[in-house]
């Protein structure tokens, strides 16, 4: 099969072109460098089957960043028939150098000048014939968003594919002349082939920025925007999640419960309470992830994410983070999983890992359910909001404190220089594709891990004696007894320790596991808790629940996004350690004070 690779700078619409060419669901962002994995897709060009590979956006073939290494080593090690260079025509003064570098590398290439419609509106005039002669390759104008010029681009690629056999480009870096030479050549070529107005009029963008980046109004507007986004996700998401839960219940009743008497009890338990409920846990995340990425695609594709980084960077740089990390941390207050996936916009691995370490401390909506239940049970209606607020404060302090403590080890040496793209209206197609792609990604990578975890907890709570689940004679109960010396200093008894084991799977099942273990519900369960716990114990328990591992899905996502078991283990252990320490200080402190 022949192979075409797409090469271009971030923000050129390369991924949009990839989507159009292959119909696959690649991610698209109006933000430098969102493409992380090498997206590959197969298509037919002319009469031949072609594999299209979308390489990460790079500024320079010669550079030292992670992405530049990826692109170079790909071209050095994989035979490629055609290198398709996508340039942003509105920034041709900055981008021509990349095409010239590839020309020197002597690859079989095709150049697409994307965003041609925008360039025309801005009054940029490009002499295609002269560029074709100088670069010795076919060039065409394109608007990947609207599809203008797309058929021509396809034909051009098909013709280029007929030309020669695939080649690798060994020692790419050594083959490149020095940068100054390329820069000089680019300038000479620009002077002859491109006519650019001295002042580019981006009036709409400038006007919007005057308001959205306003020194006083900018930050409040950012918080309003975040609040709206948040509300939108959860007002739409909660009914959708309920719908998924209803659907799963329905399937369970119709397709699984009839087998209760047919199958042996352990087999039925494993299948239904273990695996099916595990799948249910995963499925309940799907609506939130879809919505989150619909909204993220909107925020990114419009170009607002870079603005958010500009607005919050002054604060975040003090914690070794950047403004985008703050956006993700806020998103984590809804659900940690998509927030962790969203850190992919960060190009520096260290910065990204640091951000991924702090996101699990964001008090997500699942933990909020637990806290609302417990505060209602143990505090007066007047105290409850104060208690909840204090938990939010602890959440922020734990996240930022972690960043301060670990920023030295995960210090990013990359300069904070980001492109501020003009505002653009995202197309519906891109937004939908993005949501679908992310869910696909999550399901593919997390499902196995989560099911294994759920089955494990099911076995722990149901064997050797599983009545009630997690009772004193189950493995989980024994684990609770075993952990007693560790947890009694923080005021958590054996029964609540078992709840923590359940909570490791998902915080959504914490209250449910209490119901199962005590046989009590609602008000009577609240009464029972009030009888069996002091408020100091309850607050200590909530601190622990807030800080220790949020859920299996988060752990699975940490692993799949970092691709490092060591990092994931560290994150989990760090959270456990911090949870224990904070609860210990609180519980023992409160006891010393006589509570």
């Amino acid at each position: 099969m022949k192979r075409v690779t797409l090469v271009g700078m971030p923000n050129t619409g390369k991924s949009t072109f990839f989507n159009r060419l292959t119909g696959a669901s690649s991610r698209v962002g109006n933000w430098p460098g969102v493409t992380v994995d090498l997206l590959t897709s197969k298509t037919i060009l002319g009469a031949v089957a072609v594999e299209v590979v979308d390489l990460p956006g790079i500024y320079d073939l010669h550079g030292f960043s992670d992405d530049e290494h990826v692109v170079r080593s790909f071209l050095e090690n994989n035979p490629v028939d055609v290198v398709c260079v996508v340039l942003n025509a509105t920034q041709i003064d900055h981008q021509l150098g990349l095409a010239l570098q590839l020309r020197r590398a002597d690859v079989n290439m095709v150049v697409l000048l994307n965003m041609a419609d925008e360039a025309r509106q801005l009054g940029i005039d490009i002499d295609i014939d002269m560029l074709e002669r100088e670069l010795a390759c076919p060039i065409t104008l394109l608007s990947a968003r609207s599809g203008l010029g797309f058929d021509l681009a396809r034909q051009m690629l098909a013709r280029a594919l007929e030309q020669q056999a695939a080649q690798t480009s060994p020692l790419l870096r050594a083959a490149l002349p020095n940068d100054d030479g390329i820069a000089k050549q680019a300038e000479q070529l620009l002077a002859r082939a491109v006519n650019m107005p001295l002042v580019l009029e981006r009036r709409a963008t400038e006007r919007l920025d005057k308001v959205l980046l306003h020194p006083v109004l900018g930050l409040p507007l950012f918080f309003v925007a975040m609040f709206v986004v948040f509300q939108a996700i959860y007002t739409l998401g909660t009914p959708l999640q309920d719908g998924v839960a209803w659907l799963l219940d329905y399937v369970r009743e119709i397709a699984l419960v009839p087998f209760k008497d047919v199958l042996a009890a352990p087999v039925y338990g494993l299948l239904v309470n273990g695996i099916f409920d595990g799948v249910g846990t995963v499925a309940s995340f799907v609506p939130i992830i879809i919505l989150f990425f619909f909204v993220m695609a909107l925020v990114e594709d419009t170009g607002y994410l870079s603005r958010a980084a500009y607005l919050t960077d002054a604060l975040m740089s003090r914690f070794g983070l950047d403004g985008r990390g703050f956006v993700m941390m806020l998103m984590g207050f809804g659900c940690n999983v998509p927030a962790l996936m969203g850190t992919r916009v960060m190009r520096s691995r260290r910065l990204r890992l640091l951000t991924m370490l702090i996101i699990p401390f964001s008090l997500c909506s699942a933990r909020l359910q637990v806290f609302v239940f417990l505060t209602t049970a143990l505090f007066t209606p007047k105290q409850a909001p104060v208690v909840l607020f204090s938990l939010y404060v602890v959440s922020f302090v734990a996240a930022l404190g972690t960043a301060v403590l670990l920023r030295g080890r995960l210090h990013s040496s990359e300069p904070f220089v980001l492109e501020l793209p003009p505002y653009r209206l995202p197309t519906l197609r891109q937004v939908l594709l993005r949501g679908w792609h992310e869910v696909h990604h999550f399901l593919r990578r997390a499902t196995k891990f989560i099911i294994v975890g759920v089955v494990l907890v099911w076995l722990l709570t149901h064997y050797p004696v599983g009545d009630p689940p997690g009772g004193p004679h189950s493995f989980a109960g024994m684990l609770g007894d075993f952990l007693e010396p560790l947890l009694s200093p923080i005021g958590i008894g054996a029964q609540m320790a078992v709840v923590l084991v359940f909570g490791f799977v998902a915080k959504e099942i914490v209250i449910g596991s209490l119901v199962a273990m005590t046989g009590l519900q609602g008000a009577s369960l609240m009464h029972y808790l009030g009888q069996n716990m002091t408020w100091v114990q309850a607050f200590s328990f909530m601190l622990f629940v807030l800080l220790y591992t949020p859920c299996l899905s988060t752990v699975a996502t940490l692993r799949s996004e970092s691709r490092s078991l060591a990092f994931t283990s560290f994150s989990v252990l760090w959270a456990f350690g911090l949870a224990w320490l904070v609860s210990l200080v609180f519980y023992q402190g409160a006891r010393l004070l006589g509570y």
């Binding site: 500024y59 320079d60 010669h62 550079g63 030292f64 960043s65 509105t90 920034q91 041709i92 003064d93 900055h94 940068d179 820069a183 650019m196 580019l200 920025d209 980046l213 020194p215 900018g218 870079s306 980084a309 500009y310 607005l311 960077d313 002054a314 604060l315 740089s317 040496s413 990359e414 300069p415 904070f416 220089v417 980001l418 492109e419 501020l420 793209p421 003009p422």
Partner: protein, 78 residues
């Protein structure tokens, strides 16, 4: 004439980039993003509390931290 840096410019001021005082990797990265010697940079806005500045160079707009902008040496535009 005293040398000055991109970070010291006021909003609306223009200057020509002369040199970047940083190690190779950072230099390279900044050059790749358009901060090349000989190009004219315009300070579009500065955020408060020592936050980033917005710089326009030719057709692109960049945001950068003041500490990074301080590595870019500039001279007054002709």
């Amino acid at each position: 004439m005293a040398a000055f840096t991109l970070s010291s410019l006021a909003v609306g001021q223009r200057a020509v980039i002369q040199d970047i005082h940083a190690d190779d990797a950072i230099c390279h990265r900044m050059r790749a993003m358009g901060l090349r010697a000989g190009r004219e940079a315009l300070i579009v806005r500065r955020s408060r509390l020592g936050g980033p500045i917005q710089v326009r160079i030719g057709s692109i707009s960049l945001i950068m931290r003041c500490t990074d902008a301080a590595m870019v040496q500039v001279a007054p535009s002709a």
